[in-house]
Amino acid sequence: MRHSLFSIVRNAIGGNRGWPAQWREAAPKPEYDIVIVGAGGHGLATAYYLAREHGISNIAVLEKGWLGGGNTGRNTTIIRSNYLWEESQKLYEHALKLWETLSQELNYNVMYSPRGVMMLAHTVHDVQSAQRHIHANRLGGIDNEWITPEQAKAFCPLLNIEANIRYPILGAALQRRGGVARHDAVAWGYARGASALGVDIIQNCEVTGIDRAPSGEVTGVQTTRGAIRARRIGVVAAGHTSVLMAMAGVRMPLESYPLQALVSEPVKPIMSCVVMSNTVHAYMSQSDKGELVIGAGTDAYTSYSQTGALHISAHTLDAICELFPAVRRMRMLRNWGGIVDVTPDRSPIIGKTPVPGLYVNCGWGTGGFKATPGSGHVFAHTLATGAPHKFNAPFTLDRFRSGRLIDEAAAAAVAH
């Protein structure tokens, strides 16, 4: 059913009992043209664009848990495109442009809210690095501007710009088109759209093996719900990518770390933008429900525990209390962790692997939610045509052999 003013009114009159399921409950078929492993935002978006733009709908998206239950449903939803290198700018800006019309495209409200993302500078080095980013962004046609502490305070009145704090604010880089979106709605909207176009979304179906012919190419997957044949497989499994690729004998330049976030009790609107600080490691925004959404850092060690250590979030709360003294007495409601797959250059890997028929989209680490529509769009192109889209062409696995790294470590020093 299409969502419209008419359907809302009609269902309101009917006591909201007339809404159909948003996607079909699918059982696995013996064979598909393409199997996608992982029903996070990136996997679901890939399936959606394959069906919508490439006319391939004989696709299964296999998910070991429930769709959107991985990092997609655990992240703090910051969206921005002000990355340093040209390759990254193009990829993240491609996604940002898709965000702008995504609710209309999917006929599903993903609550994309370009409320402005402000990145604080606290040291001379921060100032220089922020200004370098701003210049690089402006050359790339991406909005990013330098603002003074007073302008930052005007943009976010909650901010403490006093000179007597441990790391006083010296200025900030502001991307006004940056913002947030509703993470669950992104997964649900893509799932609904893909399902309507014929894609099978199969939950509670864990991939346990990848089958290969004697000549090397993939022939299908083993799952907890039986074997499924496919000549093309796209692995979009975030923190579990190394585990899945090992099933095909491929070693990856990835390490998986717990990354956590927390939310406060809900309060009236007090913050209308996103504020991030790499140096003191904290970032915060306010959800439409009124909770303050706070992101902490990764743990020091690799882990699949899907929970972060308490001292990591305590450290972040120290910084939050210093930057936003007004929230000091608020209580935290929940905290949780996800497992993020981090590459040596902090840029994703989207494309072919040494195994014919096996494709991978991973390495988004602490900051891939913002890329969800763009990532799905270019990965669908890659799976459909066997060749990369111009925006993911530089993001190969082979760059770790050739040395053409895309070093965004400076931009991603804080987890977002």
């Binding site: 190394s242 390490e255 308490l310």
Partner: protein, 89 residues
């Protein structure tokens, strides 16, 4: 927070330590004879296993020495710590 047994100082809180990545990665002995594939393996490729994992730690706020550790990456239980040069248990 982990309680990590330093082989020299005994059990200490994680805050005293720095994680130093996967253990038992040997630098190629003859760099000029090393292929691109071998460099890739040495520099970038990691096992990243779900389960038993050998990793290095440095007791930064203690004896400041490196040592190796076997940890289960699902439960984060530390199964053993041992001195550099010793074989993984």
């Amino acid at each position: 927070m982990l309680l990590i047994p330093c082989p020299w100082c005994g059990p200490r809180p994680e805050l005293e330590f720095r994680h130093a990545g996967q253990a038992h990665i040997a630098r190629p002995a003859d760099p000029s004879a090393t292929s691109d594939a071998e460099w890739t393996e040495f520099l970038f490729l990691r096992s990243n296993p779900k389960g038993r994992h050998a990793e290095r730690w440095r007791h930064a706020s203690g004896c400041n020495r490196f040592f190796n550790c076997v940890r289960d990456t699902v439960s984060d239980t530390i199964l053993a710590t041992y001195k550099p040069g010793e074989a993984a248990p």
